[in-house]
Amino acid sequence: MSQNQLNRQSSISEEDLARLSKEAEQEATPSSLRIVWNEFKADRPALFALVIMVIFILFVMIASLFINQGQAMATNIMDSYDKPFTQFFLGTDQGGRSIAKQLILGSRNSIGIAIGLTIISSTFGICYGLIAGYFGGIVDNVMMRIYDFMLMLPITLFIIVLVTIIPNYNVVTLTLILSSFYWMGTSRLIRARTLSESKKDYVAASKTSGTSTFKIIFREIMPNISSLIIVDTMLSFAENIGVETGLSYLGFGLPTNTPSLGTMIANANDPSSITEYWWTWLLAAVEIIILTLSISYIGQVIRRATDASQRLGDD
């Protein structure tokens, strides 16, 4: 539309622009981040869980920088099974290695892998669900067949076999192997919501406005399912902590010289350690419990915040 023509129809001219935009900004609506924050402020336990999680992760990440992994994992038979609060703050394991240092390094490794796994598998799952749900039809059919098939694989067994046969096995390959088997839950959720979202008229309006398919999927539809994505990612994160530690517990996660919370819990496999030397495994177990409970609780609170009918934080 030519500018002149518009000027004739509208009483607004270029001089008014700055004043009007400023007025409009004052009337703007609070963002959804603000709503989530209000929800946390209204729910004390949730705030507590959030603080625990943030402080804990920060502490572990920073403290691990000051610990030399080689030294911490070196065996020293003289200090075998020291009790807590004697020579070592939290005691030692059979090899005389400090439990406190192993906890810090193990948490860093386990949380790090869980974060990596969550980022890779969720990103893949979200894209998979968005594409299947948006295009529908034959694309969706084929993608859902693959999904069904993946769901039926004995995942843990496959992962263990892959872990044992892969040539250069390290943290990165482990994360990639895990990611390729843990995207299905996310993709199903996202697909279902995308399917109903794509039928709405705003998608049609974007098509007639000349917006590209890529932009429609990721800039129009995705923001509308962002709350689902955030909640699901939070819950996957809690679940993924269990994935790596569980595998390490069985002995197929991180290599033996790399500490993991799961490997520490595996100390409980020895009938004498489980009762007599409880500090070698129980602390790691308690840590996992606190961590996973906090993270899923935060996920629940965010879910509540995004559902207007359940909010506590509204004034």
Partner: protein, 319 residues
Amino acid sequence: MWKTVLRRVLIMIPEIIILSILVFLLAKAMPGDPFTGSIGPHTSAAQIHHLKEAAGLYNPWYEQYWNWVVHLFHGNLGTSFQYQEPVTRIIGNRAINTLWLAVFAMVLTYAIGIPMGLYAGRNQNKIGDTIIRVYTFVTMSIPFFVILVLGLWIFGYVLGWFPTTGSVSATANSGMATTLSRLQHIVLPGLLAALFGTVNIVQYLRSEVIDAKGSDYVRTARSKGVPTGDVFRHHILRNSLLPIAAFAGYSITGLLGGSLYTEMVFSYPGMGLLFLNSISYRDYTVITALVLLYGILNLFGTLLSDIILSAVDPRVRIQ
């Protein structure tokens, strides 16, 4: 209905084929070959080459795959080099143990889950419901193996209520004593697996009951003067039970997946522990057979659930 079942079974055929190809390729990728155990240190390279050639290991992979499938159909899964016994016999013994545990856990899952879910739904937001919701939240959030280890520690070691390892006590010799001893050994792992498995049932039933309480057909029944208890038994429960039954198939796959952990923690001699041991001994014939077996059991589990669901819900049938 029968059409749906038949179609569902037909869809399974390509899935089984792809699964078997994947398993075969995994087996090929494993280091070593079927002779790893039988070749002595003095066998010459030429002899090994000759043996391999005779076994068809230099043929193209699809020919080898075909041979493998033909052997499968004759019930020949090879010989375990660790035990020097046919794989079918080794797995057969362990499979019974795993089955025992799975059936027991499943029965407990339903026995605990259904009353809990109904109670929580009927008494929504009361203290009992809140406790049940905390319970489902906690069991859902904590990794399964941590629950198992803690359960073993508290009930097995600290309180000493249950045996901590194995599937049957060595001292039990009469038939009756053996059965009792077996039962004793599966109570704790079965119970812990069931606690973990109830979450879905409890959450589903609870929301189902809450939805039904506000629905028109329940209000009509009540306004006609049907007692509350009858409304629950005849209307709400009946509507929810079949979908709950459909969980059975999925919970089979869940229990199988969990069996690795359950059997590891309780040193219970089932298929899961056999798999883990075979991995450490690189007993590839056993590993391959187990992966295939787990995959096929999973397939049948989901098949079972899908069939029950399609019988219950006509909407599933149309798709």
